[in-house]
Amino acid sequence: MSAKVIQAIYNDDDLVLQAVKQIREENYYVSEVFSPFPIHGLDKAMGLAPTRLAITSFLYGLTGLTVAITMMNFMMIQDWPQNIGGKPSFSFFDNMPTFIPIMFELTVFFAAHLMVITFYMRSKIWPFKKAENPDPRTTDDHFCVEIEVANHSEEALVKFIKDTGASEVKLID
């Protein structure tokens, strides 16, 4: 994609939020915003779809619970139904109270770790990944908004972006 983009640097989060709203009202496309910290309401202003990570976490949790139940039912009830201290090992439910701590822990374990791994994969971050923020200042106190030029007039767009309060505007091919 040889899309031209404009990188506008702002130095205030409120300004960014305001600018993104204005840019979208003028039917320009905001392709990315890089910020040093989360700006509340920015995803909504950009029109980003809500993330489904919480849903995946729930499903992972159910997986963990299933693993715990299957494992303990097999080991304690099916494979070696022994009498350990008089605990009833006739069926899973007879001895269920002592299984609950591990059922709980494995649910949390699966829900937490698999969700975090999903997050890393979806956001494409891993130990040797190269950072992609266009300006090192965007992890300090500057904010970078990328707007696609597409078939709009460059001059008009640059002027419009400057009017939204951008401190620097750069055209990237």
């Binding site: 910290f37 995803d43 993330t51 591990i102 956001s123 992890t139 106190d141």
Partner: protein, 504 residues
């Protein structure tokens, strides 16, 4: 922007007229600078203690558990006392980062990073004890349900000691990823500031290539929230499971249904005391007084007062039930010649003094906001909570059901050396952390700077002309129950935001 509105009654959480860039500079300073003499001094002491402890551990494992002060009656003493003590200390970190996140407590942001570091380092210490107190620690992997050549011989899932394995390893690993995920933006900040190529490379690896895209932040916040939601029941369950080691037994004094909540309250109590100890020192040494303010210390003291109160109620309940149960065994554990009057009375009264009486002084606002006094009380609580675990374990074991097996316990220097070693190891890790990691979650602090920083609070005060805000302050109810909170942030009402923008 209306989301930055904060009730004027709230004291600023960030002082010193800080801007976003100031936060970056202040947080990066200890990482970019060089360690001074006193750091090396303290680090050396901690390292020596750690190596001494390591020697004790190696001696124990190669010679046998008999080198400890345990006997046939008292099979658990310093080992498990230290284990429970360290696990308990770790709990405050998760409480600060998870529970306070769920309750939207903004003051957590300056303390959560260090509190979580403390959690992880404390749980590492705790994790040593279940291994080294084993008679045959080289067979420790047998606690895992791994298919094997003994006809696939499994573990027994009825034992709280096995629950401990699952609880502690889940707790450590989940705390670790929670902490690390939160660190990514901060490592990225240091990466982007680094001037030396080696440092840039290291922080480039540590930050996983974090770029701070809007979508990344959206996911980041959701992940943090869900992890907080998972860590909260986790932290409660972990110490509950630790308390089951005692509560599910038949030992008089141990067999008690109050243990799970009471241990958890004690864990938060001792954990916050440790956070106070560490942060009071840290804010001074690396100049973070503008972020970890006296207000933060006061808030933590309030949590200490609350959990200390819960623990005290539990002591009284235990005593009451000991008498009320009418069971002679319970009765002598607690009353006739038990805890308060028996040979371990000194340990019992040390517990009452340290955990019950001294923390009561924190009800006084002057003392609660006094840093020196807070530091002292925090140390006292750490000692007191060690005695709590020691008392529960040793006093109850020393006088069991058959008088012929009554015994006393006294530790050997190896018991003590191992404990000292874990303290050394803890401080080795914490000192290394304080020099290489961003000790304040700067990305989080920056999100509250406009609502809770004194610079912006002052600016707002000087420019209050907005009718809406004035009205809300005068008649909070007219703005609805959420008028004084952040309720406006999700709204797409451009008009009201334009209007409020003029104030900022």
């Amino acid at each position: 922007m209306s989301s930055h509105y904060e009730a004027p009654i709230r004291e600023p959480l960030v002082t010193g007229n800080k801007s976003y860039h100031d936060v970056t500079v202040d947080v990066a300073a200890p990482v970019e600078g060089k360690a001074n003499k006193s750091w090396w001094l303290v680090f050396s002491i901690a390292l020596v203690a750690f190596l001494w402890g390591l020697g004790c551990i190696i001696y124990t494992v190669s010679t046998g558990i008999g080198s400890w002060g345990l006997n046939k009656t008292i099979g658990w003493a310093w080992d498990i006392t230290n284990f429970v003590w360290w696990v308990g200390i770790g709990h405050a970190g998760t409480l600060i980062s998870a529970v306070l996140l769920l309750f939207r407590q903004k003051w957590r942001m300056a303390v959560n990073r260090s509190a979580e570091a403390m959690t992880i380092f404390a749980v590492v210490q705790a994790g040593l004890f279940p291994i080294i107190h084993m008679g045959r620690p080289w067979l420790a992997y047998w606690v895992l349900p791994i298919p094997n050549q003994f006809g696939s011989l499994w573990v027994n899932f009825n034992s709280p000691l096995l629950w401990d394995v699952f609880a502690i390893s889940t707790y450590l690993s989940v705390s670790l990823v929670f902490w690390w995920t939160g660190l990514l933006p901060d490592f990225a900040m240091i990466r982007d500031r680094a001037t030396k190529p080696f440092q840039k490379k290291i922080y480039g690896i540590l930050s996983f290539g974090w770029s701070g895209r809007a979508k990344d932040w959206q996911r980041f916040e959701e992940v943090s929230l869900v992890l907080a939601g998972l860590a909260t029941p986790l932290v409660l369950s972990v110490h509950t499971i630790v308390s089951f080691d005692f509560a599910t037994s038949l030992v008089p004094g141990w067999h008690s249904t109050i243990f799970p909540p009471y241990f958890v309250a004690g864990a938060i109590f001792s954990g916050f005391a440790m956070v106070q100890t560490l942060l009071i020192t840290m804010r001074k040494v690396i100049n973070l007084e503008n972020y970890i303010t006296i207000l933060h210390i006061e808030y933590m003291n309030k949590v200490i007062v609350l959990t200390g109160g819960i623990v005290s109620v539990a002591y009284i309940t235990e005593y009451f039930i000991g008498w009320y149960s009418g069971i002679s065994y319970e009765n002598y554990t607690y009353l006739s010649f038990g805890a308060a009057t028996g040979p371990y009375a000194w340990a019992f009264w040390a517990l009452i003094t340290c955990n019950f009486i001294v923390p009561l002084t924190l009800w006084i606002k002057k003392l609660r906001r006094n840093i020196v006094w807070t530091f002292f009380v925090a140390l006292v609580i750490n000692i007191g909570m060690w005695f709590e675990r020691f008392d529960i374990i040793v006093i109850c074991l020393s006088k069991g059901r058959t008088p012929s097996s009554w015994a006393m316990f006294s530790p050997t220097f190896i018991d003590i050396g191992t404990f000292v070693g874990t303290i050394g190891f803890f401080f080795v890790l914490f000192l290394l952390y304080a020099r290489t990691f961003p000790v304040i979650a700067q990305a989080e602090v920056k999100t509250i700077l406009k609502s809770s920083g004194d610079k912006y609070k002052k600016l707002r005060e000087e420019h209050v002309s907005d009718d809406h805000i004035g009205e809300v302050e005068e008649f909070p109810a007219s703005g609805g129950p959420a008028a004084n909170t952040e309720a406006h942030e999700g709204e797409d009402d451009l008009n009201s935001e334009d209007k409020n923008n003029k104030n900022n």
